[in-house]
């Protein structure tokens, strides 16, 4: 208990005694994590947006003949069982006609005198998220083609090609930039903490001379690193929230449609906790590396 109190006292006191160094460490962690969080926020929102677009990806099978209810039910059951399929919806000729009429809007009088039978019935097959790619759609079409009744398929090939290319670019940019940012953050934080520990190497030497165990020497420094990392992470989240509010929420709202702007959201709670955990871990790891060098018995 005495030791725990000593560790806590030392951690807080040492931060008070070296406000400039502590401030520099916290500031470095905050700025580095804010950049990382803001980048994650952008990727997260772009992914959300594309996920919404991808919901439109579906394979439509136009039916030459209207099947009986029992056959239709059997097809739906069989298709739903396929791993790439999320839902199957049968669009009757009447429903297709009604949709067409709605789409024409004020010009719907063009359809006056026409019967619903001019449009084919269809099966609208929505894909699972992981299959919403050109390859996924093509594979499904190949499977469906085995049923000789199905011959006319539509799945927006060109749109899917562009969507795939965009998603590839997004992932590549996300991985490269995210990896670089994490590496840079660890490097900067580790070096800043190394400086603070270097400035206090006399204290480390004296502690080791008077019989402090390696744990006793390292614990306050590790606690300080973790504490500074956590404070930095909280500041980073605060800063990221400010950036989000002014640049994404307000700034983009002016550029995007209202619906798209409404979908822009801040990092979910688990990601915020992850940023806090990352700050804490970076602070710990950043202290641990130089301590290994300076604390030698």
């Amino acid at each position: 208990m005495e030791r725990l109190r000593y560790f806590l006292q030392r951690t807080l006191l040492s931060m008070r005694q070296t406000p400039l160094l502590s401030g520099a460490t916290i500031g470095t962690v905050a700025i580095a994590l804010m950049l990382l969080s803001f980048f994650t926020l952008i990727v997260f929102n772009v992914q959300n947006l594309t996920r919404q677009w991808s919901r439109d990806i579906q394979v439509i099978v136009y039916l030459d003949r209207i099947p009986s209810n029992s056959v239709l039910e059997q097809w739906c059951q069989e298709i739903t069982k396929l791993p790439a399929v999320e839902t199957v919806h049968y669009v009757s000729q009447a429903e297709a006609f009604e949709r067409f009429r709605k789409r024409l809007g004020q010009n719907d009088d063009l359809l006056d005198g026409l019967m619903p039978e001019i449009l084919p019935a269809s099966l609208e097959i929505a894909l699972r998220e992981e299959a919403r790619t050109q390859r996924g759609a093509e594979e499904l079409v190949e499977l469906l083609s085995r049923n000789s009744t199905f011959s006319d398929f539509r799945y927006g090939q060109e749109w899917l090609e562009r969507y795939d290319a965009f998603m590839f670019l997004l992932r590549l940019t996300g991985t490269l930039a995210g990896g670089f940012l994490i590496f840079a953050t660890l490097f900067i934080i580790s070096n800043t903490i190394k400086l603070t520990i270097y400035a206090r190497r006399d204290e480390l030497e004296i502690l080791s001379l008077i019989g402090a165990t390696p744990f006793f020497i390292k614990a306050p420094f590790l606690a300080e690193g973790a504490f500074q990392g956590a404070i930095g992470a909280l500041l980073a989240l605060g800063g990221c929230h400010v950036l989000y509010y002014f640049f994404l929420k307000k700034g983009l709202a002016a550029l995007l449609t209202t619906a798209a702007a409404q979908n822009i959201s801040f990092l979910p709670t688990w990601m915020q906790v992850a940023v806090l955990g990352l700050g804490l871990t970076l602070g710990l790891a950043g202290s641990m590396l130089p301590l290994r060098k300076f604390v030698r018995m």
Binding site: E2, R3, Y6, Q17, D202, E203, E205, I206, L207, S208, L209, I210, G211, A212, T213, P214, F216, M297
Partner: protein
């Protein structure tokens, strides 16, 4: 009893520091280790508090072989040894009280016991009225007394002092030496590395002279004559 058997030390860069050192220092003894700069005095002390490991040979402290100890055992050994250095090695951002209390905090003693022992020891070195001062607000002699108090707070069996008077004028040096003598009279073994001839003459004790990493003489104060051979000293 401290025993060094065939101790040799060569640093990582290949520089030899000590050769074939054989020594026996009985408990309660006061021993000077002297010699010119680079003779190996500090290296010998560093081996005794396990800051370095000997390249060959064995060191026994009491019944314990301290030649190859694990980090935790090194820490526990150092709790039985007091250290005093030329540059005091005090924490300048902490008060006199905090500096002296540090070894006891390391050992996890209760706050009340720490307070009472630190106060007693500061009285012993005559600094009880400066316990809230920071080291840099004190004179050199006072700083060295704080360092001695910190070394003595753990009631060490052995006190190692590396040029403890090197930064002090002669009056202060005498004051510090009188303090070491008092500590030795109370039963602590004292090993003091110095090249100050004046102190050796004024406070005559067993004196081991090092030159180029070899023991060249080991004399006792009563006769002030060199022992005929190193073996005899062992």
């Amino acid at each position: 009893m401290i025993q060094l058997c065939n101790i040799g030390k060569v640093y990582d860069n290949g520089a030899p520091a000590l050769h074939d050192i054989n020594l026996k220092i009985p408990s309660g003894d006061f021993v000077y280790i002297t010699g010119s700069s680079g003779a190996g005095k500090s290296t010998l002390l560093r081996l005794l508090y396990c800051a370095d490991r000997p390249s060959r040979g064995q060191i026994l402290m009491g019944e314990r072989n301290i030649t190859r100890l694990r980090p935790r055992s090194v820490a526990l050994l150092r709790r039985e040894i007091g250290f005093v250095f030329q540059d005091f090695k005090l924490l300048n951002k902490r008060t006199v009280f905090e500096n002296v209390a540090l070894p006891l905090q390391v050992q996890g003693l209760a706050k009340q016991e720490i307070q009472s022992r630190v106060y007693q020891l500061l009285q012993y070195v005559g600094l009880e009225y400066k316990l809230q001062r920071k080291p840099l607000e004190l004179s050199g002699g006072e700083q060295q007394r704080v360092a001695i108090a910190r070394a003595m707070i753990v009631r060490p069996r052995v006190l190692l002092a590396d040029e403890p008077t090197g930064n002090l004028d002669s009056d202060l040096a005498i004051e510090i030496m009188e303090m070491f003598t008092r500590i030795n009279h109370e039963g602590t073994t004292v090993l003091l590395a110095t090249h100050d001839r004046e102190l050796l003459d004024r406070f005559p004790r067993r004196t081991i002279v090092l030159k180029g990493g070899h023991i060249v003489s080991d004399t006792l104060p009563q006769t002030a004559e060199e022992t005929p051979s190193k073996e005899e000293a062992i």
